[in-house]
Assembly symmetry: C2
Amino acid sequence: MALQNKKVSDAVIKRLPRYFRYLADLKENGVLRISSKALSEKMNLTASQIRQDLSCFGGFGQQGYGYNVESLYNEMKKILGVDRGFRTIIVGAGNLGQAIANHSKFEARGYFVKGIFDIDQSLIGTSINGVIIQHMDEIDNFCSRETIDVAILTVPREITAEIAEKIVKLGIKGIWNFSAMDLRLPEEVVVENVHLSDSIMVLGYKIINN
Amino acid sequence: MALQNKKVSDAVIKRLPRYFRYLADLKENGVLRISSKALSEKMNLTASQIRQDLSCFGGFGQQGYGYNVESLYNEMKKILGVDRGFRTIIVGAGNLGQAIANHSKFEARGYFVKGIFDIDQSLIGTSINGVIIQHMDEIDNFCSRETIDVAILTVPREITAEIAEKIVKLGIKGIWNFSAMDLRLPEEVVVENVHLSDSIMVLGYKIINN
DNA sequence: TAGATTGTTAATCGATTAACAATC
DNA sequence: TAGATTGTTAATCGATTAACAATC
């Protein structure tokens, strides 16, 4: 019943969205309860690991019964902040930025796009998903008016570090970084990297060695 | 000097592209040699880990000297198959598929886009980066004419499993999967997932608990 | 009640770090 | 030669798995 007294390990954290996904799916399919054993078969994990993972956050199950899908789903929502929500800006409205802005799934996960920024004059003033693209110089103004939690950085590699530092000063709490570069920022800011070229190279390695 | 006799662990594999990146950078900056110590400081790892990791693939260093940047870079290129190259198709030419097709970086890593497929009639016949978008029904024909190594799946979740199974039959060796779903495929096919919504949710968790 | 299944403690496994002889 | 730094073996740390008493 220990509610996050010990620091939850990165390995566990990385599995949480996956639990969330499977629970959403089960709920969708009208499944009311599930045991760690049954879930482990679906997810290709051990039942033991599932119980260990969940016990980091509380005792959500019941002996002889298993877990109530809906209530575990709701717990996971809370743990991941889906219900809380995150006010988000997208910096860089190129192909990738646009793809993300158009992706409704993120909103369903609690990430609400409040602003989009670019330097391309042909983009500024147009809107994606109801959000008008503004010039990057407006970020400062915008972030002092609005409280923004998350910045999604889809800008060219060369300017990523500079922009990251700028938005950190504006009080942003987390950065979702799509540049193939590791940011070094003060620890009050969380960075989550999506290194796409790293990912595809792992695929390549595994193909060669499969 | 053991050349991949023991299976290289996933933890090591995931770090390889990062080594590649840093080595490319060092080379770019004209650095000729680097010690595990110096590299560890740049990469925020331990020197010990770097030496352990590299020793999975061979003895690339020299006592008292360190590693020759260019030759280690070239080794890494080989290990990751960058020099070898991978013939690639993109299935799904929506925002994300287009973003990837336009991203020159993947070509620099050895991933050459040979075909792009979609079902949207308004896209078919147009081209991205010199590659004409074809109807998805053409995948079979195309893949029997051309040998394709990698398929990048940027299609809606609902049809991902179906398409994955289809292309597996066409002899594809690896799938880069962008759908928030885990594919279960025969083990002769390698799958690398980019679960974007999983990634942003990890960011959210860390923001809440930072 | 009997069977099922939890949460947790202990055992195992694997990955990271430390130490050091070998040697450039 | 002396200093630096490797590759590797051993020690430590952490994550996963197994086992089981508690209990629904």
